[in-house]
């Protein structure tokens, strides 16, 4: 049963990811991303990380992809792009070779040392029995305990990212006196 769920979820992730890079229409690509994110959410459920799965669906599949779609619509690029023009002829075959090479490398590396994976002793598997909040509690401990500096500073980064984006997308100011 676990294997069946894994295979289906993995297939969702890969098909979705391929869709993102292969579909010529940006809207279709963004919708393929939803499939990938749902697949990841299924993986989380299979790993008993229910809280993460819920957050994944609500935040990523729900909010972020909808935002992508808004931006695509607002910029008016919701048409099929002509991507057959190629200024640099060797580029695509090379990318294909390198991509396949990296896949081969990762597969070989993982299968050669599969004993080592997951043997590290820091991974804490949450206890399923009775305690429904253990996921949330562990995440809270990490975020507000060990990683609190990084977490808090990320909020500053988000503010600054908004400031910068507004500046870059704003219409060019016409004169010095204008605010």
């Amino acid at each position: 049963m676990e294997l069946v769920v894994f295979v289906i979820a993995a297939a969702m992730v890969i098909v979705g990811a391929l869709g993102v890079i292969l579909r010529p229409n940006p809207v279709h690509a963004a919708l393929s991303l939803v499939l990938t994110l749902f697949g990841v959410a299924v993986h989380f459920v299979a790993l008993e990380a229910h809280f993460l799965a819920a957050v994944q669906v609500i935040v990523y599949a729900g909010a972020i992809v909808v935002l992508f779609l808004f931006v695509i619509m607002l910029l008016g690029v919701d048409r099929t792009e002509d991507i057959s023009i190629e200024p640099f002829k060797v580029q695509r075959p090379m990318a294909l070779v390198v991509g396949v090479g990296v896949i081969g490398l990762v597969t070989a590396a993982v299968s050669s040392s599969r004993d080592a994976i997951g043997r590290g002793n820091g991974l804490e598997i949450p206890t399923v029995t009775g305690d429904n909040d253990s996921n949330v509690r562990q995440i809270a401990r990490s975020v507000f305990g060990d990683y609190v500096v990084a977490f808090e500073l990320t909020s500053v980064l988000l503010v600054v990212a908004v400031v910068g984006t507004v500046m870059l997308t704003r219409r060019i100011k016409t004169g010095k006196g204008e605010s």
């Binding site: 590396a109 080592a116 990084a150 500073l153 990320t154």
Partner: protein, 505 residues
């Protein structure tokens, strides 16, 4: 209701040493303050934000100094995830002072160039906060957050000249390749976490040993992480973004990217190699060897062909990065670990001074020449002797002529390499020596323009150099000269014991 839920949960707030993270707190408060102040000052008074940024940076330097003189020598927060030791403090001071010089460089450039000023300084300060964080991070999560913290504002700063297509190209190229590098590195980090079960570098260091189950995944993880940082420090063959970005970005931003951003990449790389995976030296040593050799050589050969001074400095900065990688390529061999760390820290300090100085001269001289072509600097000495002499000093230091700072940096790097004393070490030392000679070619070419050639189109009246640029030139010039004459001031920084001693392993 909330209180009753909280009462059920056994929760222990982490104890935080507020003195230890005071520089970060000052910087974060400064960012918010500048966004606020920018809202309320009129268009003609925007210079206030620049001065305020300078004060925030100097304010953040105060806790760095008090930490340096206070007991205990090293402080560790969150189980060693955030460590303040002498290594971290030295580099924090470097980032803050380099940031201050960049603010001095920016002031007139930004004011006259019709940019958005308040936001420019906000982004600059954010990027610096990331760097200051990076110096202390001893954990994969903190390192990644610090890296994004310093990169994301830098992407936007590169595209700050909105009307200029070159600047747009600079921003987009830097952004796309930077994000790609982050993704590769994050993949490597996730593999490292997968095989060790910890994000803490010292714990990863304990888990990853050569004997036992060191396998393909471990090697791949380390290579991916190193590739990610190779993009950030623009090592060949991951350098392709650098020349276009450096040329297109506003010149003070270029100075910032080529010095501070690159230094932060090296800091993270050093921390990961020394604390995280020192045992796996057979994986990263040959890889870094190839990167260092390629970076020095390709950077130099391409620099020889440039006619634009900023592009020339971009390739020169790539090649200087190769010299910083050189001691790391043999850092695991024999007794080289200590001298190599010292060489990297010293090189970063000296390189920051001389390269920022070089950009300061270019910015000051370009106020007269209005061009970035090397030929437009002809006769600089005849109409602006001060700038001509300073430019010569910085160029000579970059080339590594004694008794200037650059010489001490190169000396430390070669000494560390020779300490390793095997065939690989001698090989890279020879490549480094040949490249030092090649570098004279393009640095000398600019010197010849400055001293020998007549001014193009008879331009002989110099535009006055504003006070902030004079201050920047004074700081960098004095640092370049002093570090060369009194190498003892920097050679005591970067002791191996500081990094891996107290809380490293």
């Amino acid at each position: 209701m909330l209180a009753s839920i909280l009462a059920q949960v056994p929760w222990q707030a982490p104890s935080i040493d507020y003195h230890a993270i005071a520089p970060e707190i000052v910087l974060a408060a400064g960012i918010v303050l500048i966004i606020l102040v920018d809202l309320f000052v009129g268009e003609s008074k925007k210079w206030v934000t620049a001065s305020l940024t300078g004060f925030v940076l100097l304010g953040a330097l105060i806790p760095v100094l008090t930490l340096a003189v206070s007991d205990p020598d090293a402080r560790s927060l969150f189980d060693g995830r955030y460590v303040i030791d002498e290594y971290a403090l030295t580099l924090k001071a470097l980032f803050l002072i380099a940031g201050y010089v960049v603010v001095l460089l920016s002031q007139n450039h930004v004011e006259e160039g019709d940019y958005y000023q308040g936001e420019y300084y906000t982004l600059l300060l954010t990027s610096l906060t990331g760097m200051v964080m990076m110096a202390s991070s001893r954990d994969l999560v903190s390192i990644f957050v610090a890296l994004e913290f310093l990169s994301i504002p830098a992407y936007m700063l590169a595209a700050w000249r909105k009307r200029d297509r070159k600047s747009n190209e600079a921003g987009v190229k830097y952004y796309l390749l930077g994000v790609f590098a982050s993704a590769v590195m994050l993949y490597g980090m996730s593999l490292l976490y997968g095989v060790t079960g910890s994000t803490l570098l010292s714990e990863i260091g304990r888990q990853i040993t050569v004997d036992g189950d060191f396998g393909g995944v471990h090697a791949l993880a380390i290579v991916f992480v190193v590739v990610g940082f190779a993009f950030k420090v623009s090592a060949v063959p991951f350098h392709t973004w650098a020349p276009d970005t450096y040329e297109g970005a506003p010149t003070p931003v270029t100075a910032f990217l080529s010095v501070a951003s690159k230094a932060a990449g090296f800091v993270a790389l050093v921390t990961i190699l020394y604390v995280g995976v020192p045992q796996a030296k057979d994986v990263w040593q040959p890889f870094l060897w190839v990167l260092a050799a390629l970076t020095m050589t390709v950077g130099n050969l391409l620099a020889l062909r440039q006619s634009n001074i900023v592009r020339m400095l971009a390739y020169s900065s790539i090649s200087q990065g190769g010299f910083i990688l050189m001691p790391l390529a043999v850092a695991g061999t024999g007794d080289a670990a200590g001298p190599a760390l010292q060489a990297v820290v010293v090189y970063l300090l000296v390189y920051a001074a001389m390269n920022l100085g070089m950009f300061a001269v270019v910015i000051a001289a370009a106020r007269t020449t209005r061009s970035g072509e090397i030929s437009s600097f002809g006769g600089l000495f005849s109409y602006a002797p001060g700038l001509g002499v300073l430019m010569t000093i910085f160029l000579a230091s970059l080339a590594g002529i004694p008794p200037l700072g650059g010489w001490i940096a190169k000396f430390a790097a070669f000494r560390a390499v020779l300490e390793a004393g095997n065939g690989w070490a001698y090989g890279i030392a020879v490549i480094g020596a040949v490249n030092s000679v090649i570098a004279f070619g393009y640095y000398g070419n600019v010197m010849r323009e400055v001293w020998m050639k007549p001014a193009p189109n008879g331009e002989t009246r110099a535009v006055a150099t504003p006070t902030s640029l004079v201050a920047a030139l004074t700081i960098t010039g004095a640092a370049t000269l002093l570090l060369g004459v009194l190498p003892g001031t920097v050679l005591r920084f970067g002791d191996l014991a500081d990094l891996v001693g107290a809380f490293g392993r």
